[in-house]
């Protein structure tokens, strides 16, 4: 394959990944890695390096829009980033030690979890009105707009959420993904934070988490400019377009289709990991 063909094909694939990732809220990273490794035979380490960088681009690029909506909570985000960044450093170290086949299998398992999560969506559980003692001392509770009026919410189970966030950070550093699904579980399910606040705060955190492993990735040579350039530009432009279309799209069907695609990719990743082809 010539350099020009490779760049063009990777740009198109990444654009589609970014577009669908923004529409479905699953992020582009989860499809970029299997697309690069399975379709184009790119080494897993280059693929996760390029994916990690594109994760930062979409997170930072969308931040202004999320802030405008008034859902994200900067205190919750900053406090939990202590856990995700520490996890991300551990994950990035492990990525250099774990073999490529094992990485592919772990990636496949995480993809299955992401697909399952996108089918289920939010539980829509009751939002506690008051924080528990620790969350209160950390002043994590806040308010968010419901039908134009500010609605107060409290936060619970901070240690459990903090622990899950460490795990989310480790996965992010190990696999070069945003691991938004795990972050939302930590906030929505464990800490009982409203779903909208959880998803937007998670998006805000993803960039900082990824930046913590990026330095280690760069020094190890995982971030190859020739592979990362079309991935970063493609995912970013796809995500920006996706965010524009989002308001008009019927997301339910799309989410289901995307989840099936992810499931298929997951199985192929695992099979290729076991047979040693990736």
């Amino acid at each position: 394959m010539t350099a020009f063909d490779f760049t063009a094909v990777v740009w198109i694939l990444s654009f589609l990944a970014g577009f669908l990732g923004a529409l479905t809220g699953l992020g582009g990273g989860v499809v970029v890695v299997p697309a690069l490794t399975l379709a184009l035979g790119v080494n897993m380490k280059y693929a996760i390096g390029a994916s990690l960088v594109s994760v930062i681009a979409t997170s930072s690029g969308a931040a202004a829009a999320y802030v405008r909506e008034g859902f994200s909570n900067i205190r919750i985000g900053m406090f939990l980033e202590i856990a995700t960044t520490l996890g991300a450093i551990l994950g990035a170290y492990l990525a250099g030690r774990v073999g490529t086949h094992a990485l592919a299998i772990i990636f496949g398992l995480v993809l299955i979890q992401a697909a399952y999560h996108s089918f289920k969506g939010s539980l829509g559980n009751d939002v506690p009105a008051a924080s528990d003692a620790l969350a209160d001392r950390l002043r994590l509770g806040s308010s968010y707009p419901v039908d134009g009026k500010p609605q107060e919410y409290g936060v619970r189970n901070v240690p459990a959420g903090f622990g899950l966030m460490f795990g989310a950070g480790t996965l992010s550093g190990l696999l070069g993904i945003g691991s938004g699904a795990v972050k939302v579980i930590a906030m929505d399910r464990a800490m009982r934070i409203p779903f909208k606040v959880s998803t937007t705060t998670s998006n805000f955190m993803i960039g900082v988490t990824a930046a913590a492993s990026a330095g280690i990735y760069l020094s190890r040579g995982f971030i190859d400019p020739r592979v990362t350039m079309p991935v970063m530009l493609g995912v970013l432009s796809g995500a920006l377009l996706g965010a524009k279309v989002l308001v008009h799209a019927r997301v339910r069907t799309l989410r289901a289709v995307f989840a099936i695609v992810i499931l298929a990719l997951a199985i192929e990743m695992i099979v290729n990991g076991i047979t040693g082809k990736v």
């Binding site: 681009a57 202004a64 406090f79 450093i89 330095g215 280690i216 190890r220 592979v227 350039m229």
Partner: protein, 121 residues
Amino acid sequence: MDDRRLETIIGRLLQTGVLAAAATVLAGGVLYLVQSQSGHVDYRSFVPGSPSLRTLSGIVLSAAHFQSQAIIQLGLLLLIATPVARVALAVVGFALERDRLYTVISLIVLVILAFSLIHAT
């Protein structure tokens, strides 16, 4: 200065950083394709590239000599810097709000990020 205003400023800064990074990567990418469009590429096996593309000083030095791949890396470094700048701004913002607890919390995050980025120097 309140949380809302702080977040708006930070959000704008992030967007500007990402656009500047994308423009730099695009410029380096165009240069790279002009120079080596018909050359064959194969990324099947992993080879950690030369230090000029893996260290901060190497990247800056090579980009100053208009090496296309180093210009791309420079843009990517700029991109990696945007969330770091976000945390640094939050430290300043919380300090202006006289919120000691969250000034310390954002400082801890900043130190962790600095630890990781030291690897790239």
